[in-house]
């Protein structure tokens, strides 16, 4: 099962490689990983998508907690949560396809953020499945390039990850 693990880590060089190294050393997989600064300049927020049984993920969380540079860890998929990912998808848009792609982008509530005579670049935000659905709806031959941010997320309501 897919799990989204969110953590606050020390904003220090090497902190990211400790996390990544733990995953490779113990044979856990990383589907996606994103890291960025927070409002507290000493901390970064790292979000990581992995998969495994509940027991495996519990073990992952315990090992993450052991790392000195990891300040707080939570598996946000344990409860109600919000998950978002951003995708930019560059498509061949010529002839009739220009209208077709625009309609498709509208259906998915995506935005066309860059246009040339032959190319549309669509931006789409949502859960991973929604992004997958758009990709599936487009003929592979039209896709020039895809970039996805990896999921970020947080727990719904009052719960939060803080010091």
């Amino acid at each position: 099962m897919k799990h989204i693990i969110s953590m606050l880590i020390e904003n220090e060089s090497g902190a990211l490689s400790r996390v990544a190294g733990l995953f490779s050393a113990r044979g856990y997989n990383i589907h996606a990983l994103t890291v960025a600064p927070t409002n507290d300049e000493t901390l970064s927020r790292l979000t990581l998508v992995t998969s495994g049984t509940n027991q495996q993920v519990e073990q992952i969380v315990k090992h993450l907690n052991r790392l000195i540079d990891v300040v707080k860890v939570v598996d946000i998929t344990e409860g109600e949560h919000i998950e978002r990912e951003l995708m930019l998808i560059k498509l061949k848009a010529t002839g009739a396809m220009r209208e077709e792609i625009k309609r498709l982008a509208d259906i998915f509530r995506g935005t066309i953020v860059d246009v040339t005579t032959n190319i549309y670049t669509v931006q789409l935000v949502g859960e991973a499945q929604k992004l997958d659905a758009l990709v599936d709806a487009i003929d592979d031959a039209l896709i020039v390039e895809i970039v996805r941010s990896g999921a970020v997320g947080l727990m719904r309501g009052e719960k939060s990850l803080h010091l």
Binding site: Q59, N65, I68
Partner: protein, 567 residues
Amino acid sequence: MELTGAQILIHYLEDEGVELIWGYPGGAALPIYDALDTDAKKLKHVLVRHEQAAVHAADGFARSTGLPGVALVTSGPGATNTVTGIATAYMDSIPLVVITGQVATPMIGLDAFQEIDTVGITRPIVKHNFLVKDVKDLAMTLKKAFYIATTGRPGPVVIDFPKDVQNALCDYQYPQEVSLRSYQPIVKGHSGQIKKALDMMLAAKQPILYTGGGVVLGNASAALTELAHQLGFPVTNTLMGLGGFPASDKQFVGMLGMHGTYEANLSMHNSDLIIAIGARFDDRVTGNLEKFCPDAKVIHIDIDPASISKNVAVDIPIVGPVQQVLTEMNQLLKKSGKKVDAEVLQAWWTQIEAWRATKCLRYDQLGHKIKPQAAMEAVWRITKGDAYVTSDVGQHQMFAAQYYPFDKPRRWINSGGLGTMGFGLPAAMGVQAAFPKETVVCVTGEGSIQMNIQELSTCLQYGLPIKVLCLNNGFLGMVRQWQEFFYDRRYSMSYMDSLPDFVKLVEAYGHVGIRIDNPETMEQQLAEAFSDQYKDRFVFIDVITDQQENVYPMIPAGAGLDEMILV
């Protein structure tokens, strides 16, 4: 007062109470070695012959004393040579602080001479590591390093110390306090869980205390012994836990696992409750996990939450320092006045005694070849079972674990987790330096000893009167044993041709060498080696043993604890 970074390091170590460091100088550590010469008052430095040995020696010092071991090396090859030593300490949770020189910060990343990414290389084998970029951070980094290394589940910490930072000036004051927001080791086990565990223990019919290195490292031997006596349960130790419970106690059923005793492994396999204390269900202990202790519930006391339910699902976890948890259990048990059902326990003991009666450690003593087991037993008799024993890795290690029973913790020093050949001699240096008057025996083989034999020179320089017991069978014995059992006796690369004459070799290094190849004179020759005549001398005892001898009992890979090969 303004000092250089190098001076701050030396002053800090003295303020921290460190008296002994192990190391080897080099370009990127020269300012530190200069400060050692000019500023050290009490701090002593032992010059080893290879950086790996510096770390093993610091490790042996730490295991035998309970204090953190400290090693100091230069950058590049100095740092990479420490890797095996650091990994050895990491696998066995030994508190070490390893200081590595580094090229000056402006040179980092430019492939400078003797530059290597030490922080990157050591990352997977340390509890934590630091690169000191600013001399202002140095004292606090050192404080953090010692704090992290010695608290919680202990482990090695590396500090990479660039040369320009060693030369930079800064005010120095010993930091009295340290706190890390992301590291707060647990200091107390959950009282509710402790109560629940005790109730489960009192209700058990076939319980066993399975205790590991955590009892030794956590100074919990006395608390464990008291609990075991209060409950009357059988106790088994892991390889790392030997000495954590007195081997001469009648409740002790021996070591468990791959080369454990019949009674220990069958008691585990047939138990209805395993109380794991500072042990981590290592694969060498559990055998095939699918066949592991089918009827047992599990209580697990450990300082490290990540050890709990890692290999074996736990019913009652208690995360906390073992000494504190066991002490609380002892008090609760006394206060409650509750007792185990003596009749039920007696039935369990009757069964265990029947297993014990197989005498699984007996061996054939006939013939004209020396049995390694007999050599170990003789050394045990001669040293009255009270020596510090370090070992290398292989058959001799298992023979030492089986035939040199320990009554005290911190007497048995071996590389259990990583299984590092070459550990024994430098570790013995660390122990001997910590306890100059005690008998220190390094049990080794002709294979392992050659992995750090250069340290014979260090032993002479510092007058370390170690006694090396080399069980020399001309084979990499444990490899040979596996090849005999599992590879149709194809002894691929396990035979050692062209061995040196060890007696002449150690004599060339200025030591005493004794060769023993006759079972009839063995006891007397061993007694001589340990006699007052050689009290202050390093003695290398080369014992020529039976080449065909194997370590029994043995659980083959993939088998369960009840599927042992006895002889």
